[in-house]
């Protein structure tokens, strides 16, 4: 009789911890321009290779390469760059305001700006995003969303359009195609599929776009959403933002080791792309591909956006406790803003001077907006929406028991 081998539990670990250095060779990378671009109407199974490789357009010199290089007007690129810089400046400013206790909490999207902003360029008016808390770029890339109003939400003040009910960042903007952000994870993905199904049931032309992080793909709702999207060929894009970290949990604990999140999609029959999330051009091209597929009744696309969470998870988090401090600087896909700027300069459509002027202008705009928002109150000075309003919107019309409870509170 031979002794049976003792079983061992596998425990995935990141390659770097504080004090050490991350070995990013765990990331499967492709060269810019290397990956083929199939027609958006191919069978989902034909995208299997694209779920493993990485769609990239910008090379190290900032040149656009290969079949995914989109035909995109420089105005649009400048618009994208502007939105990315605006988002980064806005985040930095709000981060400070949180430290000054003017808001209770904040979540920046440092390093991930290209994802939401390139995607927004590929969507149309009337489409609906079902975001997480890190897609503020969808709103900041629009001219019709007031910075003052966004900051009023963050400060939960008297002008907060959400009446002080939601944590900062959990915005809702129906008119901007931005679904109410839950705060519970993954719930929005099957909801987006339902919204897309409704659009198809009505013979409409609008599509939905769902957002989720690598960590929450472990939730059942994600897998349920993929099944429903496949079954009904729903006109939806399912975006998995793989920023390597879910608070302190490395993406391998969500199941990213030895596979990719994009491959989840191919397994259930959904076209899937793995995309350089820090490459604005690749992001725009992939989003366009997925949007065209959805709009022509070829069904859903899963896009895995490979990126790196440059900052802490939130203002309540301290990443120096669990990952090397220089990770982001060493991340092989670089900084999305620097890369698009380099490209625009390389094609003669931008300059350092223009960039500096734009940055100054945006900074002034954000400072002015913050000042105005603060004039309506901050969480610190207690000028928040009245307590009476918490009894509203629980139901369409206030039922008797809530009327009585409001009286009890004396408001």
């Amino acid at each position: 009789m031979t002794t049976p081998e003792a079983l061992r539990l596998h425990m995935p670990e990141p390659t770097g911890r504080p004090g050490g250095t991350t070995d990013f060779s765990y990331l499967l990378l492709s060269r810019a321009g290397e990956v083929p671009r199939p027609s958006p109407d191919v069978p989902a199974s034909a995208t299997a290779p694209l779920a493993k490789s990485l769609v990239r357009v910008l090379d190290e010199d900032g040149k656009a390469q290969g079949p995914w290089a989109p035909a995109i007007h420089p105005d649009r690129l400048r618009r994208g760059l502007r939105a990315m810089v605006k988002t980064r400046l806005f985040d930095a400013r709000m981060q400070i305001a949180q430290r000054q206790k003017k808001l209770s909490f904040y979540m920046q999207c440092l390093g991930e700006e290209a994802i939401a902003i390139s995607h927004a360029q590929a969507l149309r008016e009337g489409d609906m995003n079902f975001p997480t808390y890190r897609q503020q770029g969808l709103l900041l890339s629009r001219d019709d969303i007031s910075l003052v109003e966004l900051i009023c939400q963050l400060m939960s003040n008297a002008r907060d359009p959400l009446k002080g009910r939601q944590l900062p960042v959990l915005y809702s903007y129906k008119r901007a195609g931005f679904f109410s952000t839950s705060g519970n994870l993954a719930t929005q993905v099957p909801q987006a599929v339902g919204w897309a199904m409704a659009s198809a049931i009505k013979g409409d032309s609008k599509i939905a776009s769902a957002w989720i992080g690598d960590g929450s793909t472990a939730e059942a709702d994600f897998h349920t959403a993929l099944t429903f999207a496949h079954v009904y060929r729903a006109p939806v894009i399912i975006n998995v933002v793989n920023n390597q970290w879910a608070i302190s949990t490395f993406q391998a604990i969500a199941g990213g080791e030895g596979t990719t999140f994009a491959q989840r999609g191919v397994g259930v029959g959904i076209a899937s792309l793995r995309v350089d999330g820090n490459d604005f051009l690749a992001g725009y091209a992939a989003s366009q591909w997925a949007a065209e597929r959805a709009r022509t009744n070829h069904g859903a696309t899963l896009i895995e956006w490979v990126t790196y969470r440059g900052g802490a998870h939130s203002t309540s988090d301290d990443p120096s406790k669990y990952r090397p401090a220089d990770d982001w600087q060493r991340f092989p896909l670089g900084d999305p803003i620097a890369r698009l700027k380099q490209h625009l300069i390389a094609i003669g459509e931008w300059s350092e001077a223009q960039h500096e002027a734009m940055t100054k202008e945006l900074e002034a705009q954000i400072v002015a907006a913050q000042k105005e928002a603060e004039s309506h109150g901050t969480l610190l000075d207690g000028r928040v929406p009245s307590a009476a309003t918490m009894f509203e919107d629980v139901f369409k019309d206030m039922p008797e028991h809530l009327r009585r409870q409001r009286q009890q509170l004396g408001v």
């Binding site: 079902f130 109410s180 839950s182 599929v193 339902g194 349920t224 429903f228 139901f395």
Partner: protein
């Protein structure tokens, strides 16, 4: 009409009136549902108005939320109330709170139908009555009819309601007014007054209880199957009980309850669900808050035992007419 036919008629009427009404769930499409409620609707309205869903209650509710946010009016079926638990997060954190958290920017009016209750030898996974779970959630309405007329009228009112509604269907009442005497045949709805259901559109308002049986000696607060069991208990004991059929569990019609208890001075709360933390506890608390100085006896609670719903011991578990009758006697004799 049976309750099944009445519910089908309610869906049919609303699908005919409003092309935004869509109906789906497990086995709901081609086959027409395991209890046949949606039979014929796919043939009549097409596959995009009435269809089968994957076996995923969370997916069914989540997609319904998305559809409602788009502007449709989904009426989804959870095959048994016992199966709704995977959808709990979507119901509690999403459907119920969408209007509140977005300050009215979005809302999710929908109806989530589910057969509930025991008496069919369904064991612990086909017999539960989870109404108290729903009543505890802020932002949804919970409804449970006790007869075909109310079932159709409440269903139409629920579909038209701008709040999400949990619509619980006591499956033991689908074919007739079961009064707890499991060893006797049930009178079919076709031979019962409450089986007379108009073909067309009508509503039974939400948040309105019915005085099912007027009486002077004691008030019985109940709903669903236990309305009929309570009536049987009143007949068997000869006690002049006033039976209030809540119909809407939450928000509820407190006025009708309070008026009755103030009149009789005695109150028995009856439900099939387990006792502890059951909705009866809320009813008892409301009655003592509102009617304490009119009460002449302690409030009685009759409920399922605090055990999982058993299979072979169904009738020992089920709070039948004998248990209700004993509570009525205690209440009037105290």
């Amino acid at each position: 009409m049976t309750m099944v036919q009445a519910l089908r008629s309610g869906l049919d009427v609303m699908m005919g009136r409003d092309e935004n009404v869509v109906v789906y769930g497990e086995d709901v499409g081609y086959f027409g549902g395991v209890f046949r409620v949606t039979e014929g609707l796919q043939a009549k309205y097409g596959k995009t108005r009435c269809f089968d869903a994957p076996i995923s209650e969370s997916g069914i509710v989540a997609t319904a939320l998305g559809m409602a946010a788009y502007g449709l009016e989904p009426v989804v079926e959870i095959q048994f109330a016992d199966y709704f638990y995977p959808a709990m997060d979507q119901i509690v954190s999403e459907v119920a709170r969408l209007r509140f958290r977005s300050a009215g920017d979005f809302s999710a009016p929908m109806v989530i139908r589910m057969p509930c209750g025991g008496g069919i030898y369904g064991g612990q996974t086909h017999s539960q009555s989870p109404e108290a779970v729903f009543a505890h959630i802020c932002g949804i309405r919970t409804v449970m009819p006790s007869n075909p007329y109310d079932a159709k009228g409440l269903l139409i009112a629920s579909i038209e309601c701008e709040d999400p509604v949990i619509f619980l269907e006591p499956k033991r009442l689908y074919n007739g007014p079961f009064d707890g005497r499991h060893d006797q045949p049930v009178v079919p709805w076709s031979r019962h007054d409450m089986g007379k259901v108009p073909e067309g559109y009508y509503k039974v308002p939400l948040t309105s209880a019915a005085v099912f049986r007027p009486g002077k000696a004691v008030t019985v607060l109940t709903y669903g199957t236990m309305v009929w069991v309570s009536e049987r208990a009143a007949i068997d004991t000869g006690i002049d009980a006033e039976i209030i059929d809540l119909r809407s569990i939450w928000p509820l019609d407190l006025e009708t309850i309070v008026n009755s208890v103030k009149k009789t001075g005695r109150c028995v709360v009856v439900h099939e669900a387990t006792r502890t933390g059951g909705f009866g506890a809320e009813l008892a608390a409301l009655v003592q808050e509102q009617c304490f100085y009119h009460l002449e006896a302690p409030i009685e609670r009759v409920a399922g035992w605090d055990t999982p719903y058993p299979h072979a011991q169904e009738w020992a578990y089920f709070p039948g007419p004998a248990r209700v009758g004993a509570a009525l006697k205690r209440a009037v004799e105290a």
